[in-house]
């Protein structure tokens, strides 16, 4: 029985029943689902547990091996912690969306074939957007649309890549794919979008901060880590990924220094952490892949704490802008303390989680003599401490006293933060427990004298740099502003450039393109009909034009495929 029941389904179908319960029973039910799912994983044997044949296609909806298990475990833990954090949310729709989203992410990491992966990939994309729209503002609606278009584009590419791959190899199995075929390339780009590769990244920084207080916590856990898993499965040892990862690790931190919305700062720093994982996948040795998986595991927890603490601040003060906050440690001492634990963990302080996980990736880089990449990652490590480790706690909880006095976070949120923070410390103090569930046997000792001292040097000198720059007034103040990123291209440049062109072609042409766009994104439209007045879509250029671009993309992929035949 337990063998044939796919992991994730408990959350997906169980989540649909949440509206049937009320009060304490609902709370208990919401915590029971991920707990049961976790137990199910513990009892599952390894192997290809479920196989189906549809016509000539053989599918493997459930494949259990160490790589999928480590992601399966952490996804259940993340769902459990997220649900505690969200217990008091009255908006039932958010709970249902979060369960379906978490469940489909879990399903995806146990998918043994590309078609099953695609199905979960799309369910995750569509369910997650409701966590953004649940904020119920014009702003979040638009951000959600942009997010959805990226997610759907990733799905379309994945499907196109799967077909090309099948045509070439006759196999749908989701194992090593490589980039030496059209199918592999398309699938890599599909994964790359969800993993926030450079220039494909901006949906992350754009949309996550626009989600609800609790929604961002769920969002931060699943989509990108699912992509890291998929890369580790399909493209281990792909050298290009080392360089892509290094760029990801380095560039977002410049933005993180100047961005005002502190949840957006966290998305940039998340992009930077994903870079480390991508480097790990690119190196592809056992140590590096272990490091990527371990760091994904740790990242979900410390990013969870950080997003939770900033969510609590948003809930209590109504803002997470660095320019408006400061001195909150007086009102929210526990939240501040948990935030600092998260900050110490992401910064890889000894005894905190990333010290035991990120260092595996750095060691693998050094062992394989990628000197340049190693020093870029070292720079990124100093930088991440600078903005996530110091900036976040400093501008929210310390710094200049904003005069804001509010209540401490609600108890359920404190419990969620406390548990996640404890796990961060737990991994840092007893890394062996995590090492035991990694895909490959671990022969790595993080606590050497050299590692502890050099890491402390790096961190404390980074801290003193921050303090010194602040002291002498060189540190850029938090300003109410937005910063242009690649989203400018499709939010401003494309509409401004092509707006007049399409208008010049006259109504007929526009209508035809519009029709195309509508068909390609039929799902989007259905959702939209239920969600907002039609007028919004007509008025807002970004959404309209992006739907169009998806259609063009789809057409191009089809052309490519035919050409290739």
């Amino acid at each position: 029985m337990i063998d044939s029941f796919p992991p994730g389904w408990l959350l997906i179908f169980g989540g649909l029943l949440v509206p049937l319960f009320r009060g304490r029973v609902r709370s208990a039910y919401m915590l029971l689902l991920p707990a049961l799912g976790f137990i199910q994983l513990l009892l599952m044997p390894e192997g290809e547990l479920l196989q189906l044949s549809i016509f000539d296609y053989s599918l493997t909806p459930v494949r259990v091996d160490p790589l999928s298990l480590v992601f399966g475990y952490i996804f259940h833990i993340a769902a459990f912690l997220g649900m505690i954090f969200a217990l008091r949310v009255k908006d039932t729709g958010q709970h249902v969306a979060a369960f379906i989203y978490a469940g489909s992410a879990i399903g995806a990491v146990f998918a043994g074939d590309l078609i099953t992966l695609f199905v979960y990939w799309e369910i995750a994309a569509i369910s997650s957007v409701f966590l953004i729209w649940a904020r119920r503002s014009e702003r979040s609606y638009r951000a959600g649309m942009r997010y959805l278009i990226f997610q759907i584009a990733s799905g379309v590419l994945l499907l196109a890549g799967t077909l090309a791959h099948f045509y070439q190899t006759g196999s749908l199995a989701f194992d090593y794919l490589g980039i030496n075929s059209l199918g592999g390339m398309l699938i890599l780009i599909a994964f790359g979008i969800k993993c926030a590769f450079p220039l494909l990244h901006n949906w992350l920084e754009d949309a996550y901060p626009e989600a609800t207080v609790t929604g961002t916590v769920f969002l931060s856990s699943f989509t990108t880590k699912m992509a890291v898993y998929a890369l580790a499965r399909g493209f281990p040892g792909t050298e290009q990924l080392i360089w892509i990862g290094a760029i990801m690790a380095a560039f977002p931190i410049f933005y993180a220094v100047i961005v005002n919305d502190l949840r957006r700062v966290l998305t940039y720093s998340m992009n930077n952490q994903l870079g480390f994982m991508v480097v790990g996948v690119g190196i592809g040795t056992e140590l590096a892949l272990n490091g990527a998986a371990a760091h994904a595991f740790a990242d979900i927890l410390f990013k969870g704490v950080l997003f939770m603490s900033m969510g609590a601040v948003l809930l209590r003060t109504g803002t997470v802008k660095g320019s408006e906050l400061g001195g909150l440690y007086k009102s929210m001492p526990w939240t501040a303390a948990f935030c600092i634990v998260g900050a110490a963990s992401i910064s890889a302080f000894p005894l905190f989680s990333a010290f035991a996980t990120k260092s595996m990736i750095l060691s693998a880089t050094a062992e394989n003599h990628y000197a340049f990449v190693y020093f870029v990652l070292l720079f990124a490590s100093a930088g991440v401490f600078h903005h996530s480790g110091i900036k976040i706690p400093y501008f929210a909880f310390f710094g200049h006293d904003s005069g804001i006095r509010c209540k401490e976070a609600p108890r359920n949120m404190l419990i969620a933060m406390g548990l996640a923070a404890s796990l961060c410390i737990g991994i840092g103090v007893f890394p062996g427990v995590l090492y035991n569930v990694l895909p490959f046997p671990v022969d790595y000792e993080p606590y050497t004298v050299t590692h502890v001292i050099t890491q402390l040097q790096l961190l404390f000198w980074s801290a003193v740099a921050f303090a010194w720059l602040n002291w002498v007034g060189l540190y850029p103040p938090e300003l109410r502003s937005v910063n242009l990123d690649s989203d400018w291209l499709f939010r401003r440049f494309v509409p401004r450039m092509f707006g007049p062109v399409t208008r010049a072609f006259g109504g007929g042409w526009t209508r035809m393109l519009d029709q195309l766009g509508r068909r390609a994104t039929a799902t989007v439209q259905t959702v939209h009909r239920h969600h907002g007045p039609q007028g919004i879509l007509e008025r807002t250029w970004p959404t309209g034009s992006m739907a169009l671009w998806v259609a063009i993309l789809l057409a191009m992929i089809l052309l490519l495929y035919y050409y290739y035949r």
Binding site: G403, T454, V482
Partner: protein, 103 residues
């Protein structure tokens, strides 16, 4: 006090001089600038000690440059200063008003 009333009614606490702990409120240890200064100074002392620590153990390294006394401290400090200075320049290029996309 008409000026005070004016700042209080302002929705955002953006005026640096108008905010801070209210009168009669509990005074925290960090409210005292002298204590902040103590933390700042101890940070420098700690950093110096960490560099000195390099003299007392055998460093296991992969690249020769890492062997220099206090290399990681130096690297961290320089990285962060350059990061912040570069980001400040970046802000001049990409920074826009908050309502840029809403206009």
């Amino acid at each position: 006090m008409p000026e005070n009333a004016n700042t209080d009614s302002h929705e955002h606490h953006s005026d640096a001089n108008a905010v801070g702990p209210a009168q009669g409120e509990k005074k925290y240890w960090l409210d005292d600038l002298g204590n902040v200064q103590k933390i700042y100074r101890s940070l420098w002392v700690l950093c110096a000690l960490l560099v000195a620590a390099d003299l007392f153990y055998e460093k296991h390294i992969e690249f020769p440059v890492e062997g220099f006394l206090g290399f990681f401290g130096f690297y961290g400090f320089v990285s962060c200063v350059l990061l912040v200075l570069a980001a400040t320049q970046l802000r001049k290029v990409v920074g826009r008003d908050e309502d840029y996309y809403d206009r």
